[in-house]
């Protein structure tokens, strides 16, 4: 009896655990064997690792159809349905994992920073530790190739384009007024404190179909998804005070950052070339609220800024100085949700609203304007595989702008414009292999003010030539509503959108802490706005028959490896550009473009001093200016520009930092251009005055204190 039972049981278990051999070979796409790959039958213990020559063999007790999994680190995991009985000496091919760090990425036109960037041109700390940037995001970006430093303006000028040709986006939503207001010929600042942003992508051309209404460039800023901890931050500076607080809960967090800036104490100490009746002062604040859902994140960002100044500015056309009294209120709000649903679907929906009001008194006249701008956006992205992703979306912009000019005499002029832009776009990301990638998109838009429609293609390719180097190419058509300076007079004039096409060829070499980028481009402008009067005014007649081009070469080299504790980068830009626009009689190089620009940024960490010391040198050749005493238009050229800035951050303790910076150490007498009198003087000569910085040097001393549980955190990143 027992024997029978035993025999029965063992027979049964034999059938249960009868063993079949599975064998074969694992190779990559080129047929090269992969050693150490993990091969197993899903849900069982049966499996093995491949040998040196890629072969495997193991026995299994499973029967019938099973899922055979083959995985190896840098390859895509394969799942093969097999019949256990008939799987011997078979070959399985693993495809390259196109998400791997060494896979190709399209780099033409874009300069990325932050965690998502494979090759960071700027690191998160850079914005704030770059000497001369003083925490201004835009000032740090001006040390990158493809930008022109326009000292008297402060905004971003990209590759021969005007400042308004760059659009700024926060969390994917447009920011209609990214800069604070400033007096004529004195630089403005970006409104955003670098503190709240983790990723920056700065595109100098050829950007994605997701973005429109920008002729030259887009600047994409992303707020931090999740702050690391709750903390309070205090800053005491020679120019004002700041207070920040972050609260972090289980699924949500809230950050608020406010500052009061008043330049009068500083100006009392350091003599200025400019007579301020009331030094610039501003009260500003930003806040971000984030809520993390299971499969998505909701973000709300709001910023306000109230600033004012009274200045007495010299004017070549009048004996007395002109008093300019300005008040600016700005509010910006944006909320967005981004999350996953279904199988590999991603949705992004957002809404932004910006309000900007400027009230300026010019002697006894008064100029007031108000802009309301909103942006709505919906974007869907489906990832079909690692190799093919498709996105499509819709964008809607509404802008309403009103301006009133009141003369002392009581005469009042009202003008302005309303505009809506609707756009649809679709774009495909295709990875043919680890070496070849493409992004192909198209954007269709319609503009109510200019009453025109556009179909704009955007194409880019990247090819990886060798382990550390790759080549990218981008082409795109772009259109933009003309500048507010013109279209506010659209009552009597019909405008058309301005147009540009970009061609970009990029080479990038990147290896362990060293990056070299070389980018050649050609940009073709058409439909640029022209007017027929000396200055833009109510009576100007506008046409859209302007044109232009820009071509050049941008070089960038970054190295953090060769010398220990030294991080440096060098940017060089050569540009050849001419435009027939504004009231130019002929096609010439505009007055904001120097042909050659060179920036050298260094940062050196001295352990013994617990200090980071940095130097930034910006050099550019002379800029054109128009001298009415000469017959040829725009024939003058300023002398070259140079600025050597220095900064020193000293860690008193981990959470207390003393920071010092000074610009233009060498005291170079920089001239940005000249203002000429409208009327010649008695001897027939047009008199001029130089456009110069408000003071030769700018000194800054600040003390930054972080209070948090984790004693390692500090505000080094804010400097």
């Amino acid at each position: 009896m027992k024997t029978i039972l035993f025999a029965f049981v063992s027979l049964f278990s034999f059938t249960l655990f009868s063993q079949t051999t599975i064998s074969g070979k694992i190779v990559n796409e080129k047929g090269v064997p992969i050693a150490g790959a993990n091969v197993y039958i899903e849900g069982s213990y049966d499996g093995t690792s491949t040998s040196e020559n890629g072969t495997f063999s193991f026995t299994t007790t499973t029967t019938g159809y099973q899922n055979l999994v083959a995985s190896s680190l840098i390859y895509e995991t394969s799942n093969t349905a097999i019949d256990v009985a008939h799987f011997q000496n078979k070959t399985i091919k693993l495809r390259d994992n196109v998400n791997a760090l060494d896979a190709v990425v399209i780099t033409a036109g874009s300069l990325d920073s932050g965690s998502k960037a494979r090759v960071s041109v700027l690191k998160p700390l850079d914005i704030v530790t770059t000497a001369g940037s003083a925490g201004n995001i835009v000032a740090a970006l001006q040390t990158l190739p493809g930008t022109q430093t326009v000292g008297e303006d402060g905004r971003l000028f990209v590759r021969g384009g005007e400042a308004n040709e760059t659009q700024t986006y926060v969390d994917g939503m447009r920011v209609p007024q990214p800069y604070g207001s400033s007096p004529n010929n004195l630089p403005t600042r970006s409104r955003f404190s670098p503190f709240l942003f983790s990723g920056i992508s700065f595109s100098t051309g050829g950007y994605s179909a997701e973005y429109g209404d920008a002729l030259s460039s887009v600047l994409l800023l992303n707020t931090i998804d999740e702050p690391d901890q709750s903390k309070t931050e205090i800053s005491l500076m020679t120019v004002g005070v700041g207070l920040g607080n972050t609260q972090k809960w289980n699924k949500s967090s809230f950050s608020i950052n406010s500052s009061y800036i008043n330049l009068s104490p500083y100006q009392a100490l350091v003599p200025q070339d400019i007579e301020w009746k009331s030094a610039p002062q501003s009260l500003s604040g930003e806040m971000v609220y984030r809520y993390n859902f299971e499969r998505g994140i909701f973000k709300m960002y709001a910023a306000f800024d109230a600033s004012q100044y009274v200045i007495k500015q010299e004017n070549i056309n009048s004996i007395d100085k002109i008093t300019v009294d300005s008040k600016n209120d700005n509010f910006y709000f944006n909320s967005s949700y981004s999350g996953f649903f279904g199988t590999n679907w991603n949705i992004t929906a957002g809404l932004s609203y910006g309000y900007n009001q400027v009230k300026t008194g010019i002697d006894l006249d008064h100029l007031g304007n108000a802009e309301n701008a909103a942006n709505m956006k919906l974007k869907l992205k489906k990832s079909f595989s690692n190799r093919f992703k498709l996105s499509f979306g819709a964008d809607y912009f509404i802008t309403k702008y009103d301006e009133t000019f009141t003369r002392n005499s009581g005469n009042k002029f009202d003008y302005g414009y309303d505009n809506t832009i609707g756009a649809l776009y679709t774009e495909a990301d295709i990875l043919f292999s680890k070496k070849l990638a493409a992004k192909v998109g198209i954007r269709a838009s319609t503009n109510s003010l200019t009453n025109d429609n556009f179909i704009s293609p955007r194409i880019s390719f990247a090819y990886k030539m060798a382990k550390f180097s790759q080549l990218s190419f981008a082409y795109g058509d772009f259109s933009q509503t003309p500048s507010v300076d013109y279209i506010k007079f659209s009552k009597n004039n019909q405008f058309e959108s301005e147009k540009a096409s970009h061609f970009i060829l990029n080479y990038q070499y990147s290896k362990e802490g060293r990056t070299l980028r070389a980018e050649a481009y050609y940009k073709d402008y058409s439909n640029l706005v022209r007017f027929d009067s000396p200055t833009i005014g109510y009576n100007s007649i506008f046409t859209n028959d302007g044109a232009g081009y820009a071509k050049g070469l941008d070089l960038f080299w970054r190295d953090g490896k060769t010398i220990k504790n030294l991080e440096y980068w060098v940017s060089y830009s050569y540009i050849d550009t001419e435009r027939l626009y504004k009231n130019y009689p002929t096609q010439v190089t505009p007055n904001f473009v120097p042909n050659n620009s060179l920036s050298i940024v260094t940062k050196y960490w001295i352990m013994d001093w617990k200090s980071q010391i940095g130097f930034t040198n910006s050099f550019s050749t002379g800029r054109p200016y128009n001298n009415p005493n000469e017959t040829q238009f725009m024939n003058g050229k300023t002398k070259s520009y140079n600025d050597l800035s220095f900064n020193w951050a000293y860690l008193l303790t981990t959470q207390k930092i003393l920071y010092f910076s000074v610009s233009n150490i060498l005291g170079a007498n920089n001239v940005y251009g000249y203002n000429y009198a409208i009327q010649p003087s008695a001897n027939g000569e047009y008199k001029r005055s130089a456009i110069k910085p408000a003071a030769d040097r700018f000194f800054f001393v600040g003390f930054f204190w972080t209070i948090s549980k984790n004693k390692n955190d500090n505000q080094l990143k804010n400097l």
Partner: protein, 206 residues
């Protein structure tokens, strides 16, 4: 009667065989790991994880093996692949159980490995998160020696940059050594590593 016996016998055979397979597999994986065959060890743990979805240990060890392997590697592509694998494995278990201190310690180690890979880029991003993970682990299991030691050790590593006083941290390391002595792993395969590292760290204190 016969039927019952047969059924019982079969049941016992199946169960003991399954039990045996888990233990055998884990034993073999540890053996491979000890021999320095990290890829094979990780593969073995991965196979066990695929077969036995009830235990959090196989995926935990997939994460641990790949993270510790990454410390010895310079090539960023390789490190990125290892840490991605570690994170994927840990994510599987983290979703199932949010109250396991060992998983938080593991998460802190993965963050630390990202910092080691590129301190300039990842330092600011992950140091706060690492501390947060250790804090969570300590809150869940104040007596867990790896949580106590890991937290102190991480701050000590940063001390040469931040200049904070290491004395209180040394005290914590000392305390963790005491906890290692009394720590009782739940199963033979449960995490029990770390004493040697704590002892080495304590030597630097003197």
């Amino acid at each position: 009667m016969k039927k019952i016996i047969t059924t019982i016998a079969l049941l016992v055979a199946v169960i003991s065989s399954a039990q045996g397979q888990f233990e055998q597999g884990m034993g073999k994986a540890f053996q491979l790991w000890k021999e320095g065959k990290n890829t094979e060890a990780s593969a073995m743990f991965e196979r066990i994880a695929s077969a036995d979805k009830t235990s959090w240990l196989p995926n935990y060890y997939v994460a641990l093996v790949n993270t510790t392997s990454s410390f010895a590697i310079q090539d960023k592509t390789q490190v990125n692949a290892l840490l991605t694998k570690a994170q994927d494995a840990l994510d599987v278990e983290m979703i199932k159980d949010q109250d396991n201190a060992e998983l938080y310690v593991m998460q802190a180690m993965i963050y630390t490995a990202w910092i080691v890979m590129d301190p300039m880029t990842n330092g600011m991003k992950y140091s706060g998160k690492t501390m947060e993970m250790y804090a969570k682990a300590e809150a869940l299991a104040p007596e867990n020696p790896r949580a106590v030691f890991g937290k102190a050790d991480f701050q000590m590593q940063g001390a040469k940059w931040t200049g904070i006083d290491t004395k209180p941290l040394c005290k914590e390391v000392d305390k963790s050594i005491g906890l290692f002595a009394t720590f009782k792993p739940e199963t033979p395969f449960s995490p029990k590593w770390g004493l040697d590292r704590a002892q080495a760290a304590l030597k630097n204190c003197k």
